[in-house]
Symmetry: C2
Subunit: 257 residues, 2 copies
């Protein structure tokens, strides 16, 4: 809720701390590893609605750590239709993968607003080379993103509009719960257009479907926030199970030998 504008250094520290916390949920890091990551540098940049964070075809030199708001990855067809393939919330390293594949094949844009920390690839790669544990943690972070993408594919390909939105909202509620929100109410820095592009629907149909979700008492949207009215209804409609998010070490089944 704190909207007061922090100093860039504080923004960076906070975002890195969230990310380290995320990495630790999935891997066992040493103190040195934590310090290495917390020591990453990076410029802090604020973006208004729908600004390019990373453009298609660009050869990047930095990874984008989300600090505030939301960043979306998308692709578009020749006719200009958009499809979001991922959304990133604070603490997400939106394109960690660019450290090993710097050429951008799916660009990033801010959603309604976003603050991003640009961390140099150089530091990420160097950290990975000096610590096999960090190397695996980074690799694993990319892998969990891929598994979320896999779930989105199922969602968009085989569920109807109500289920798609319910599922997406469930995912967001869970993800925000890991960064300090209560699991029932969460910031929704996405327009209905974004939701449409995330679910492969039209904005009009998203609107009607959100109304349905409200009418059946599953979920409401108010003041740029999603509010889970009833978790059991929402997860039943959305066929939602949080396992694929790998939010706890148990589900990640840490494989450190």
């Amino acid at each position: 809720m704190v909207r007061a504008s922090l100093a860039p250094m504080d923004v960076r520290r906070h975002a890195l701390a969230l990310w380290v916390d995320r990495l630790q949920r999935r891997s066992v890091l040493s103190d040195d590893d934590r310090l290495t990551v917390m020591g990453f540098s990076g410029n802090v940049v604020r973006f208004a609605t729908s600004r390019d964070v990373v453009k298609l075809g660009e050869c990047t030199t930095h990874c984008c750590l989300v600090a505030e708001g939301m960043v979306a990855r998308f692709g578009q067809t020749a006719e200009g239709l958009r499809q979001l393939s991922a959304v990133y919330i604070p603490g997400d390293m939106a394109d960690l993968h660019s450290a090993v594949l710097p050429r951008v094949s799916a660009p990033l844009q801010s959603a309604l607003r976003a603050t991003v920390v640009f961390v140099p690839h150089r530091e990420v790669i160097s950290a990975a080379e000096h610590s096999p544990v960090l190397a695996r943690a980074f690799w694993r972070d990319c892998v969990t993103d891929a598994q979320i993408a896999s779930e989105w594919m199922l969602n968009n390909g085989r569920r109807d509009a109500r289920a798609r939105l319910a599922h997406l909202m469930g995912e967001l509620a869970c993800r925000y719960a890991t960064i300090g929100h209560d699991g029932r109410s969460f910031p929704l820095d996405l327009s209905q257009n974004h939701l449409a592009d995330a679910t492969g629907l039209t904005a009009v149909h998203v609107n009607r479907t959100l109304r349905q979700l409200r009418e059946v008492g599953a979920l409401a949207v108010k003041d740029r926030h999603g509010i889970v009215l009833d978790w059991s209804t929402l997860s039943r409609i959305g066929d939602f199970d949080a396992g694929y998010l790998h939010l706890t070490r148990e589900t990640a089944e840490d494989g450190v030998a």
Copy 2:
């Protein structure tokens, strides 16, 4: 085309050679790195149609390298509807990511048939720990898979049935071209049901749509093979551009510092 049954060791060597070749298209490997990978062990297992290669929830100890046929990753809804999130052809390390996230959240099945080499995680992890270059190559391999998934999301979310199938076929033709096929004809070890599950359509509609693609002279399917009748028509219909596959080092924009 050679269908003669090779000895298990030859099957493994051949599959590993294809994979190493793939890795080299995207990274610069040393002779040692190549030898390390070629030295991987692994049991060779043949699968008939639609057999479980890796089951949901299982905690795996091996990666699956496809040697022959095709393996598909899929998810399914509570009602049992399926969605493929990836298909793997010979030379693809189907679940390299399982080395760092062994718990399976999206299972693997053989398509019409498949031969798989099960490579121990232990060897993969050990190779990555001894060679930062290999570690990055493995990481990058996972990342390119994720980018393919991203393109599938766009395809399934924002293109109509004709374009979806045309795009998928274009992708397969290109991928097979890198493992010794001519770029026009390629093995299609998928039933129309698999195609439906890959594209988020029904088998009935896939059938009608394939007929359309044949009628407009874009693509034909015959004897378990896809045949590109006219690349320009196919890629126009499918809005297809092979860049996202990162098949050449140039498009991968190798970032070795």
